[in-house]
Structures are given as C-alpha cells and as structure tokens.
C-alpha cells in the first residue's frame, strides 16, 4: 500500500545513490518537482532512464546527479539541444556521463516488457540503423515460426520509478489522464515508485477504463501542486512553453545555469 509522505521524505526514503531511476512523463506530467528534490538531496551516481530527457534531466545532469543516461531522444522539444546534457557528453562537465541510446519504439517496448515481467522485448526495429553498432544491448533474434529477423532488447526494470499524476484518492490509488505516455509501465516495471500528485481527493472521478494505478503498486505518494511545471498537468495548468524557450539561454552557459539552479532549486527548496 502506498504511503503518503512529503516529497522530501519520499525522495530520501526511496532514492539512493547509485540507483537506476526512471522519471517518466512524455512531455505531459513530467515529475519536475521530484527531480529538483533529487538535486537538493545531492543524490549521486544515478543511472537515469527516460525516453525524452527534457529540462528536468538537463538540470539533474548539470547538477552532477547522474553517471549514466539511457534515453531515446534528448532535446528541448521544439527549441533545440539540452546544453547541460551536451556539455556532460561532449566535455564531461560536471562529470563524465555514459550514454546508452535507443529508439523510442525500443524503449517503449522495453518498459512494456518490464511491466510484463519479461526479461526481453521483441520488436521489428533498428533495421538499417547504426544504433545497434553503438548500443551492445541491441541484439537480433529469429522468429521460430517465420524466420523473420527481429530486434531484441533487455526489458527496463528500474530500481525506482518517479511520475507525476493528476490525483490520488485517500486509499492511495492514482489517476493519470491525457497523454499517459509510459508512466504506468515505468511504475509497474520498477521495484519502488514515487508518485507526486496535484491533489489528494475523496473520489478519483475516474471513468470505467481509466488509467489508474492501484495503491498496492505504488510505494509513496506526495501531494505537490504544480509538481510538473514547466511541463503541464491536463485539467490543472498548461505547459509553460515560454520557459522551455528561455531554458535554452539559461542552460547554454555553465555559470548562468549554476546561478539559476541555486536560486530556483537549491534555495527555493530549503525554504519550504
């Protein structure tokens, strides 16, 4: 059964140095507040998994939390590069960042297989691509029925999954609505999970086939209104597209980034 904790307690209890951590949310419902708490608690040597690293991973990488990144598209959507990610990959600042790179289809299948308790995912993928040459996890198998060559990759089974959702009820069941991405799979594939929610309510108000995570597959729930900003929460607030554009200039320079981080993450969290 999910425990109701403060975000600080949840991150402290469930994320440890060296863990493999998947913070998911496909553009929508990105668990940004939880990422900032990870930065404040100075977690180190994390293997970060995420299909689309986005600003929150740019910040965590720039803050020195990560030793490895497993991803399939690492950019600032519609804007350009993630400069902290590039600086870590190209110049090892603030530390060397190992990368393991997939396509979206492969990562989605790997999460799906993880949720399904399987050791591998099988897909028709990577045909003609150079990615298998640089990612040793990509193999090929032959279908025993048709002889077709198909890609096989290990399933993703993180130590911890972290997601943001619209709301939880008082029993700890969680409703996710809108662009639901890969969050359900991430939580089901992980050993432990933290869910931040906009609010805790008496009744989820879920439709009959809604995407609901039962309390017994969630480790901790923290009520964090606005916890996805500058990403968005359908039904609560819009994506702050202007900030995504502003991020390009902030992240481009190490000092500007460090000043932003200090003012907006480190000092801000300490006050609360």
């Amino acid at each position: 059964m999910a425990e109701f904790l403060s975000l600080k307690e949840a991150v402290s209890k469930y994320i440890h140095d060296g863990d493999t951590v998947a913070m998911e949310g496909f553009t929508h419902l990105i668990p940004v507040a939880a990422g900032h708490e990870v930065i404040r608690q100075e977690k180190r040597d994390l293997t970060l998994i995420r299909m689309t690293p986005d600003l929150v991973y740019d910040q965590m990488i720039g803050a020195g939390c990560a030793k490895k990144l497993i991803f399939s598209w690492g950019g600032n959507p519609g804007v350009g590069s993630l400069h902290r990610l590039r600086d870590a990959v190209e110049k090892s600042w603030p530390n060397k960042l190992e990368i393991l790179e997939h396509s979206h289809a492969a990562m989605a299948n790997a999460y799906e297989a993880g949720a399904a308790g399987l050791p591998l995912a099988v897909l028709r993928g990577y045909v003609g691509s150079d990615l298998p040459k640089v990612n040793p996890q990509i193999r090929f198998i032959e279908c025993p029925f048709t002889g077709e060559r198909l890609a096989a990759i290990p399933s993703i089974r993180p130590d911890v999954a972290v997601i943001h959702a619209q709301r939880a009820d008082r029993q700890g069941n969680v409703l996710i609505e809108g662009i639901i991405g890969i969050q359900k799979e991430a939580v089901l594939a992980a050993k432990r999970s933290i869910v931040t929610v906009e609010e805790i309510v008496d009744d989820l108000g879920a439709s009959v086939n809604a995407c609901v995570l039962p309390s017994w597959v969630v480790s901790a729930i923290a009520e964090v209104p606005g916890g996805a900003r500058p990403s968005y929460t359908l039904g609560y607030y819009d994506r702050d597209n202007a900030f995504y554009k502003d991020w390009d200039a902030i992240a481009r320079d190490r000092d500007t980034f460090l000043a932003w981080l200090k003012h907006n993450v480190i000092e801000k969290g300490a006050a609360s």
Binding site: H28, G74, G75, V89, E101, H104, G128, L131, I179, G181
Partner: protein, 258 residues
C-alpha cells in the same frame, strides 16, 4: 499579380500539398507538423494526424511546440499510451505516411539526428533517434522535409540514425515487412525523389525562382536532376493566408499571449 513568399513558406506549402485527405500520417514535430496541419486546414480537412505522444486523429488549433502539448490531446479522437502507439499503430501497419524532419540527410535518404563526428567523441551531440528509426521502416512510405544546405545534405551521413535506402541504396531489398521508405523529400529549394533503380535522390522539381546552381551549391554531393524537371507551382493566396494565420496563432500561444 505575383505573391510575395519566403522559401520557408514555399517549403511548408509544398510539403502540405503532398498530403492527401485519405492519409494516416504519423507526424514529426517541427516542419512536418507545420506542413501536416497546413494540409488539414486547406485541401485535406479529413487527413488523420497522429503524434508519437499517443494522440490519435488530432486537430490542434495551434502548432504544438512539443510532441505532447495539451492541445494535441484535447483535440484528439482518443489518446493511447506510448507503447500502444509504437506497437499497435505504427508497427501494426496502420500508418500510410511517416513525415519526418532531420539534421543530416545523404544521397540515399539516410537520416542522421544522432551526432556530428565520432560516436564516442562527438563534435556535436544531437537529440537522437526518437521515433524516427521505426517510423521510417513501419510506415508504408516516408516523406521528409528539411532546409537545403551543404551542412544538411551530405554525401554520407556521419551516423545512420534512421535508414533511408542504406549506405548502398539496397537496405530495403528483400527485407520482409518493411515500408517503401522515403519517396519524397521537400526542401526550401526543390523536391527530390529517389531514382527507381539506384535509390539516389534526384531533383524532380525546382521551386519558383530557384536555379539548378542554387541546388548544386546547397548539396554536398554531385546532385542529379530529373530529365523532365518541373517547376513547383507557387503558393496560392489561400495557402499563404492559412499558413501565416496558423503561425501567428501559434506564436501568440507559445509566448503566453493566447
């Protein structure tokens, strides 16, 4: 009276014209998304647009900045999970056209969105593959739209993120369950199509006011031109008006002035 238009507008409008009303189009963010929505707002009102974030049959009023803006979800027929999108809808064979952008493209329409330089010591690290590697093989065909420059149009890409026809033009030969690949490339200068035999990209139409020399200058290999080289029709008044209004709405929306 001849209309004033930019080469970017020419590119978007030409790309939009390539999309017909009955297509199921898997749309990449940026230029493809602009062209696909322009098509929907002009000659192809019933075109089905799908974004990899899970939004099926979406009809956004403004262009999304990201692949998963709320607008896409709220105007969609329904929204499915990302694994379902890639397994059932793309790999399941329901996509007629995958519409992609790229950072580099070579003469066999291979795409590189991974990096410039060497993989372990990149000169420039790009975002990566995203959905493109499997869009390019599972969709029945692929359209590509990208600005024409020597940096972009290279003889051989540094890294094949997404296969066109492979480094030798033969990567799709005898591969089961694979789409036809890139059948159309639309730039701000011209339209290119693969040669039916060699699969090398050939210019089939020049945009108005563009010369062969302009294209040669902007292409990193010894580019060929079709024997019957066409001139792309100029934008119509309606096409330009709809595109400009869409971009204006979009700009206002993403600046927080909606």
């Amino acid at each position: 009276m001849s209309l004033e238009f930019t080469s970017s507008e020419m590119m978007s409008i030409t790309a939009a014209r390539a999309l017909s009303n009955d297509l199921i189009c898997f749309v990449g963010i940026g230029l493809p998304s602009e062209a696909a929505n322009l098509a929907r707002l002009t000659h192809a009102p019933d075109i089905t647009l799908i974004y990899e974030s899970g939004t099926l049959q979406t009809r956004p009023d403004v262009l999304p900045l990201s692949i998963g803006d709320g607008e896409l979800c709220q105007s969609a027929l329904t929204t499915v999970s990302v694994p379902e999108m890639f397994r059932y809808w793309l790999q399941g064979g329901h996509i007629s056209v995958g519409f992609l952008g790229t950072a580099q493209i070579d003469r066999f329409a291979n795409l590189n969105t991974t990096l410039i330089g060497d993989y372990r010591e990149p000169k420039v690290r790009l975002p990566g593959g995203g959905g493109a590697p499997e869009i390019a093989t599972s969709a029945q065909e692929v359209f590509i739209t990208v600005k024409h420059s020597r940096r972009t149009f290279v003889k051989d890409v540094d890294f094949v993120t997404t296969v066109g026809f492979g480094r030798d033009g033969k990567a799709r030969d005898n591969v089961p369950n694979i789409g036809r690949g890139p059948t159309l490339v639309i730039t701000d200068l011209c339209i290119l199509k693969p040669d039916p035999d060699t699969r090398e990209l050939v210019v089939t139409s020049l945009h108005p006011n563009v010369t062969r020399e302009d294209v040669i200058e902007a292409t990193g290999w010894d580019i060929r031109f079709a024997d019957e080289l066409e001139i792309t029709p100029a934008p119509t008044h309606e096409e330009l008006a709809v595109l400009r209004s869409l971009k204006e709405r979009t700009h206002a929306h993403h600046s927080g002035q909606q």
